[in-house]
């Protein structure tokens, strides 16, 4: 477990400039190396963070953002850190759209309500969904495939000593909490996932659709909603939200045999509010690509025992080592596999590690700066030559 820490501290990071936190760890907007994008270390309103993304799909479907500063358009309004992690499926369109619009919607709603709350975050999800479905409607005739694209959305907001976690889909956030008795850090999962592989999710779907025996189907040893999709909540996936998008010219493999009156998937997030405690050391936000290879405790142990600088990249590498082992090959050889084909070895993986510094959180002098970063650097699809 601690093995990845024995490696020399992360390479390719020579241009550390110190001083301004946002510039530490190289380029403020991150760096790319082959299919990997990373921002080894930076500062947010209440501590430091580290981000890394590895691409597996032909077009990167994972999108992510970290916004630090004002969380509304009011000067007196809520201040803190916003983390968004959007794991797209069927294409990159929805996750890109959410990456552009979720935070804007949240800011707008927080200004209207003059506060940050679970209700504001939920409304931001629903507003983003509504906007995306209008986009699908606009493009339906020219680009019907957009109806089959969707995205899981995980949002974390650190504000006023509280952490709000809102999740629709199967990304996950895990808290690392100092445990004096065990002389280590304990992993506490804060997000609720909506994957049909979980019993309670299947039960929920069956109770919502009591007349549909085919609501969840086991396919390739994996539970899928209508035999098509593993998650039960998402933004997008218009073809499973409105019957009008489940007909020709949509590809036959996405079309259901019968029209439906009630949406099959839901965009509503499960929201959890956590009061931050001085023992809370860090949060690991990651798409399911990481969690299929690392357990919560394994990930927390790596973050606890290794330097902060480059920690997200270290987690991604630890997951890739496991992925390589599962496919009976070496990690060094996995790196030779091109994007697209890589999907057979692992999924797109995004990791954002957010360190929590409570004293900093309460200091009002740090309120002056704002900072914004996008996973992948906002550059469309890094290409491999």
């Amino acid at each position: 477990m601690v093995k990845p820490c024995w490696k020399p501290s992360v390479e390719g990071d020579g241009s550390r400039r110190g001083g301004d936190g946002s510039r530490r760890g190289g380029d403020p907007s991150g760096r790319s190396e082959g299919l990997m994008w990373y921002k080894d270390i930076g500062s947010h309103a209440s501590g430091e963070f580290s981000m890394a993304v590895i691409q597996a799909n032909n077009l990167l479907e994972d999108q992510s953002q970290l916004e630090s500063g004002q969380l509304s358009s009011l000067k007196s309004g809520p201040y803190g850190t916003f983390i968004g992690l959007y794991d797209g499926h069927g294409g990159p369109e929805t996750s890109r759209f959410v990456n552009e619009n979720m935070f804007l919607n949240l800011k707008k709603l927080a200004s209207e309500h003059q506060e940050m709350s679970a209700n504001v975050i939920k409304k931001a999800f629903l507003a983003t969904e509504e906007e995306f479905l209008s986009l699908v409607k606009e493009q339906w005739l020219t680009k019907p495939q957009i109806a089959s694209v969707g995205s899981c959305c995980l949002v974390g907001v650190i504000c006023g000593g509280l952490l709000y976690v809102a999740n629709a889909g199967d990304s996950r956030v895990v808290l690392g909490r100092a445990d004096r008795a065990a002389r280590g850090v304990t992993a506490i999962q804060l997000s609720t996932e909506h994957n049909a592989s979980i019993d309670s999710v299947r039960d929920e779907l069956r109770s919502l659709h009591p007349h549909d025996p085919q609501i969840v189907v086991l396919k390739h040893k994996v539970w899928r909603v209508k035999g098509l999709i593993q998650v039960s909540r998402s933004i997008g996936d218009a073809y499973l939200k409105k019957s009008e998008f489940n007909r020709e010219p949509l590809l036959a493999k996405f079309r259901l045999p019968e029209p439906f009156s009630k949406p099959i998937l839901s965009p509503e997030p499960s929201i959890f509010i956590h009061k931050l405690n001085p023992k809370d050391q860090f949060l690991i936000f990651a798409s399911d690509g990481l969690w299929e290879h690392l357990s919560n405790q394994e990930a927390v142990d790596i973050v606890h025992s290794c330097p902060k600088n480059g920690i997200a990249r270290r987690l991604v590498k630890a997951a890739l080592r496991v992925a390589a082992k599962k496919r009976e090959m070496r990690y060094s050889d996995l790196k030779k596999i091109d994007r697209g084909v890589r999907r057979h070895f692992h999924d797109d993986i995004t990791v954002i590690v957010v360190f929590l510094n409570l004293p900093l959180m309460n200091r009002s002098s740090s309120r002056s700066s704002t900072f914004s970063i996008r996973g992948g650097g906002g550059i469309p699809t890094p290409t491999k030559s």
Partner: protein
């Protein structure tokens, strides 16, 4: 596949004998002027040791039983070391069992292999446990491998990126 494994093994055996014989050949029959005469017994012992270590290296490289029964989780198996630049792929045999085949990693990026992988995805999805499993027949798989190898023009393609 036999062909490729045979080739690998032959390569190893050749290297072994080349190593062992080459070292032994030079000082035969005479001693260089000024060099002390070496003891034949110690020479013999070191030769046996070299032979032993080389033989051990070959045994370790052996890809094991060659196939796994369906349902047996390949990851759970005691990890068989895969040579650098290669990965294990499971291909369906005539009897429905799966044969474990070692494939150069760079073949995986080839469009012909991509077609096999798409079939694998349709059949098993992306998230199946264990090694990559190809639903095609071993004969079809071998022909794809031969065509990729032929397209590369030579066998020594491992350094290609």
């Amino acid at each position: 596949m036999k062909k490729i494994r045979g080739f690998l093994l032959k390569h190893r055996v050749n290297t072994l004998f080349r190593c062992v014989l080459r070292r032994n050949r030079t000082p035969r029959g005479y001693h260089r002027l000024g060099s002390p005469p070496t003891c034949t017994i110690s020479k013999l012992i070191s030769w046996v040791q070299r032979l032993k270590s080389k033989a051990r290296a070959i045994c370790c490289q052996k890809p094991g039983p060659g196939y796994l029964h369906l349902g047996q989780d390949p990851v759970q198996e005691k990890a068989l070391p895969v040579p650098k630049g290669h990965m294990a792929v499971y291909v369906r045999q005539e009897d429905g069992d799966f044969q474990r085949v070692l494939v150069p990693v760079i073949y995986i990026n080839h469009p012909l292999f991509g077609k096999l992988l798409r079939e694998a995805e349709e059949e098993y999805g992306y998230d199946h446990p264990g090694g990559i499993t190809i639903p095609c027949r071993i004969s079809e798989f071998e022909s794809v491998q031969t065509r990729i190898a032929a397209g590369r023009g030579c066998r020594k393609t491992l350094t290609w990126k």
